[in-house]
Symmetry: C2
Subunit: 235 residues, 2 copies
C-alpha cells in the first residue's frame, strides 16, 4: 500500500482506497505536544488518535508517584482502543511522549464509521492483538530483566516508532516509563554511554550504536517486533 503522506499511519494505510476515502473526510489533523494527556483512567474517550510521527505512551499507576509504561502507540496503531472494544472509558493514562502529528476523530462519528468499515475493523482488531502481546511481554520483561537491558529495549522501541536516532527525554521521564527511580536510570544510561552505545545531555538522548544496543537489550525487543510483523503492522 502506497504512502498517502510523508508520514503515514499503518493502520490507515492498510485500508483499501474506497473505504479510506470515506474515512479520510472525517479525520482531523492535529499536532500533539510532549506532556499532553489524551486520556485519564476512568474518564470517557472523546477522540481516537492515529499517530503519524508522534508517540503515545500508555501508563498504569499504582500510586501518586510510581507509574509504569505498559504500551507504546506510534504510527503502527491507534490510541483509544477501549472505544473499539465497546467501552467508553479508558483504563490507562495516555501521555504524549513524543511531539508530532496525528489524525484524530471524534468518538461518535468514529463509531458510525467503524461499524460500517470492515477493513478498518479487521486492522484495528489485529492491532489490539499486537498491543496485548506487547503489554504481556513488557510485563514479564519489567519483572525479570534488569534496568540496563530494559532501558536498551525501550530506546530501541522508541527509535523504531519515531524514525529518528535522537529525541528529547530526561532521565526523570524515563524512570516513569520503566518503573525505576531517576537515579537508577542515570546509572543504567551512563553504563550505556560509557560503551558508546548512546549519548545524552540535559534531556536529549541520541542512539549511536543500534547493534550494540540490541546486544545489550533482552530478547523481549525482538519478540514484540515479531508479533507486530505477524499482525501485518511492521515497518
Amino acid at each position: 500500500m502506497m504512502d498517502r503522506n510523508s508520514a503515514t499511519n499503518r493502520v490507515l494505510a492498510s485500508i483499501p482506497p474506497k473505504q479510506y476515502r470515506r474515512l479520510q473526510a472525517q479525520l482531523e489533523p492535529i499536532t500533539l505536544t510532549f506532556g499532553q494527556v489524551l486520556y485519564e483512567p476512568g474518564t470517557s474517550i472523546a477522540h481516537v488518535y492515529f499517530p503519524l510521527n508522534c508517540l503515545i505512551s500508555l501508563l498504569t499507576a499504582v500510586d501518586k508517584r510510581r507509574t509504569l509504561e505498559v504500551g507504546m502507540v506510534g504510527n503502527e496503531g491507534m490510541a483509544g482502543m477501549p472505544f473499539i472494544l465497546g467501552m467508553g472509558v479508558s483504563g490507562n493514562r495516555a501521555l504524549v511522549q513524543g511531539s508530532g502529528d496525528a489524525l484524530r476523530m471524534a468518538s461518535a462519528p468514529f463509531r458510525v464509521e467503524f461499524n460500517r468499515n470492515r477493513p478498518l475493523q479487521e486492522a484495528l482488531y489485529r492491532y489490539t492483538y499486537a498491543l496485548m502481546a506487547q503489554i504481556s511481554q513488557t510485563a514479564a520483561c519489567n519483572r525479570f530483566h534488569e534496568a540496563e537491558a530494559r532501558l536498551a529495549r525501550w530506546l530501541l522501541m522508541t527509535r523504531d516508532r519515531r524514525g529518528a536516532d535522537e529525541f528529547p527525554l530526561t532521565h526523570e521521564f524515563l524512570a516513569h516509563m520503566l518503573g525505576l527511580r531517576r537515579e537508577g536510570v542515570s546509572e543504567a544510561a551512563s553504563a550505556l554511554k560509557r560503551r558508546n552505545l548512546i549519548d545524552y545531555s540535559r534531556g536529549k538522548i541520541r542512539i549511536l550504536d543500534v547493534k550494540g544496543l540490541k546486544a545489550s537489550s533482552c530478547a523481549c525487543y525482538q519478540i514484540v517486533k515479531t508479533v507486530y510483523a505477524r499482525a501485518g503492522l511492521a515497518a
Copy 2:
C-alpha cells in the same frame, strides 16, 4: 439473565436466548485437568474455551524457567482471544490452573458463528477490554508491589473465579504465576499463615480470612474487580 446450568459462563449467559440456542448446539462440554496446556505461543488455535468452573492461566515466559502469569480466565471470560481478534496463533501459553468443566468449540465453526452473532461479539470485545485492563494492572503490580501483597491478591482473584475457599496448589506452582522463586513464595505464604489468613499443606491451600487477606493485598485486586464490573462481567 438466568443460569442455564449450575455452572455458568458469564459471557454466554449475557447472550439473548435466541442467539444462544444457535450457539449452544455447537458447544462441546469438556473436562479440563490441572496442568493441561491449551495453547503454546506461536501455535495455532484449534478451539476456543468457555470455562464453567475451571480456571485457566495465561503465561508469558522470558526463558526456560522463569514465567509470569499475565492473565487469568475463569467463567467470566473465554480462552482463545487472539482468534476473535483475527489472529490464528496464540501469543501466550494457556495453562489449566484449576481442573473443572468448560464448553469448547472448534475454531472454524466458531468463526462462522461469531461473525453472525452480534451479542456474542459485543460480549467478547468487552471481555477483551477487561482482560487488557487486568494485564496492565497486574503488570504494574508485579513491578512495584512486594511478594506477600501479590500473593494475597492472587489468592483472592483465584478464589473469586473458583468459587471455593480451598484449592490444590503448590508453592512451586505459585512461583511460576507470580514470577518468584519457590522459596520466596514459601516465605510470603508462611507469613500469611502465621496471621491465620490462610492455611496450607502439601499442595492444598485454604483461605481462612478473606477480609484479612484483602487488607494484606494491594489495591490492584479491587481495581481489576471494578473493571470487570464496568464491563458487565462481575460475579
